[in-house]
């Protein structure tokens, strides 16, 4: 007779937001995996309705304190798409520079404070810092440099306020960019060391069977490593314009989660984030990043999610390298922004948040009020893949003691750097009114 066991993690530590994990398994296999997201719904899409289209970037930035730029960028691009605006290459470059700052901030915090402790056997980043102070100090220095980018371009480092529909409110000056460049160059050296350090961590092996390979999904653009623009592509042949997103992805509500689950229509789970970007866009990384990846023996395609910490470190290096390149090539835009006027329209955009593809769609009426909003956060899109990972990897870890098994499950979740708060901003309500006499 087999005895059923459960892994219950009532409160997931070191992820953003409130979530829990439930796994039921026995010697015959894993019977149930639920990544429970009980963070209260936040209804952002609901209260976007009736707001002026110009407010979208600032309101949606409030969805997240660590990736506000991603929300701001997806929102502003979606509104600009609705209005038929096309930004100059100079303005595009500045938005990209700002995104570099956010990737640096988010990835370094995740690498050093949230994820690395899993690999080195510490319960927290603070505990790890006691034995590895220089390493953590370097991480915080890099994060600070990321903050500097966001502060200069965004007006402040948390919940930036300088992005507006059509461009920016204020442009950076050349001396400001020059000062920033010096700081970025110093931090880029630390980023190189971070790649070497991350690649030296004891990374668990995990490979899916050929019939269960991940479908990696990311933006892709022939000109650049994806941040703000591109087509949506996948390792399984998807290649669509962002405007076709709704035809290929849909969300469903599951009873145990306040975050919607996303699926590829007709296919199922898919995998977003740094690893998807890297695997689909390796050729567009800078020569320096490819060189360092080569030095540490990291392949151009990797499907072990435990190695995502290395991919993040490569993206941090890329973000520094790209930020320096943008500053070196900087030409001031003719004007900080393009004038805009509302028109009845619908627009959408997807950008690459640190955690993966972030899709926004807005309907705007003739007066400029938003009459429809849809926001699909990366974590809700990765949720099924996280559960599938746990289901598939658990058999190889069943021999572990319960505490170790739980730690490995948590590590598998933190591979994705889930932002649970971000993913719970919408709950689909099905109202079933009781008719008189029924």
């Amino acid at each position: 007779m087999t005895r059923s066991k459960t892994v219950k993690v009532d409160y997931l530590a070191r992820v953003e937001g409130e979530g829990a994990l439930y796994i039921r398994y026995d010697e015959d296999g894993v019977h149930e995996v639920k990544l429970k997201i009980f963070e209260p719904p936040r209804f952002f899409e609901g209260f976007m309705r009736g707001r002026d289209y110009r407010e979208a970037p600032d309101i949606t930035a409030r969805i997240c304190g660590i990736c506000p730029v991603a929300y701001q960028m997806s929102a502003v691009h979606a509104v600009e798409n609705a209005l038929g605006l096309s930004l100059s290459p100079e303005l595009h470059a500045l938005r990209r520079l700002m995104y570099c700052g956010e990737w640096i901030e988010s990835h370094t915090l995740h690498i050093y404070m949230l994820h690395a402790p899993d690999f080195l056997g510490y319960p927290s980043g603070v505990a790890m810092a006691k034995d590895h102070p220089k390493t953590v100090q370097d991480g915080l220095q890099m994060k600070k440099a990321g903050n500097e980018i966001v502060r200069l371009l965004g007006g402040r480092e948390v919940h930036p306020i300088n992005v507006r529909v059509g461009g920016f409110y204020r442009l950076p000056t050349h001396p400001e960019l020059g000062e920033l460049r010096d700081k970025l160059l110093r931090a880029r050296d630390l980023a190189i060391e971070t790649v070497r350090w991350a690649a030296s961590l004891p990374i668990p092996d995990f490979a899916r069977a050929p019939e269960n390979t991940y479908e990696f999904v990311a933006l892709s653009d022939p000109q650049e490593y994806p941040m703000n623009r591109g087509r949506i592509v996948s390792t399984h042949g998807l290649d669509i314009a962002v405007s076709d997103y709704d035809d290929h992805f849909h969300e469903t509500h599951v009873e145990y989660s306040n975050a919607l689950h996303s699926e590829r229509v007709g296919r199922g789970a898919y995998f977003l984030g740094p690893m998807a970007r890297y695997n689909l866009n390796y050729e567009r990384l800078s020569p320096l990043v490819k060189q360092i990846a080569g030095e540490v023996g990291f392949p151009s395609f990797c499907s072990n999610p435990f190695a995502s910490i290395v991919v993040r470190s490569l993206e941090v290096l890329y973000a520094f390298d790209e930020a320096v390149r943008i500053i070196d090539n900087y030409r001031a835009p003719q004007a900080p922004y393009i004038d805009t006027a509302p028109r009845p329209s619908t627009g959408c955009a997807a950008t690459e948040a640190p955690r993966g593809l972030l899709f926004h769609r807005y309907g705007i009426d003739a007066s400029g009020q938003i009459d429809d909003a849809k926001i699909v956060a990366p974590t809700s899109q990765n949720q099924k893949t996280i559960e599938d990972d746990l289901r598939l990897m658990l058999p190889q870890y069943m021999h572990l003691a319960e505490a170790d098994l739980q730690a490995r499950c948590e590590q598998a979740i933190r591979n994705y750097d889930p932002c649970i708060s971000c993913s719970t901003h919408f709950l689909k309500l099905h109202l079933d009114p009781v008719r008189p006499g029924s």
């Binding site: 530590a13 070191r14 992820v15 953003e16 937001g17 304190g65 660590i66 988010s106 915090l109 995740h110 404070m113 949230l114 927290s124 980043g125 603070v126 810092a129 006691k130 102070p133 953590v136 100090q137 915080l140 994060k143 600070k144 903050n147 402040r156 480092e157 948390v158 919940h159 750097d417 932002c419 708060s421």
Partner: protein, 147 residues
Amino acid sequence: MGNRFRGDDSVGPYVVHRLRSQLTPSIPCIENNGDMSNLIEDWRDRHVCLVDAVQTAAYPPGEVVRLNGLKQDIPASLCRTSSHGLNIGEALELARALEAMPAHLEIYAICGRDFSFSAGLSAQVKAAAQQVMREILEKIQLQTGGL
């Protein structure tokens, strides 16, 4: 510390903004929106007065809880390490590990009443902020002779 747009949580920025105009630039007035990693960088080796709002049922709104951050335990917070940062207790622990402790740390925790968006400061918290500002100015006067 605090969020300017969340009612009584804005008391920290409120105090900093008003003190800045009364102090010389040699005494930095630093606003922190909640990024503890910046806090660690900012307070290293300094004499620090940290003003923040707290949400508690233990004291009435406007009550000021004064703590010596280096000698007294910081009460546990519901805010745990996450991708959004650390709480003050963890920030102190991390600073200790990184040898980035402040030289002195006076914490003024002002008990708030209303933390809703765009609510502004409640009257009790505004009065407490005035009191805290007076105390900080006196402290600076004593330590610097009024520089």
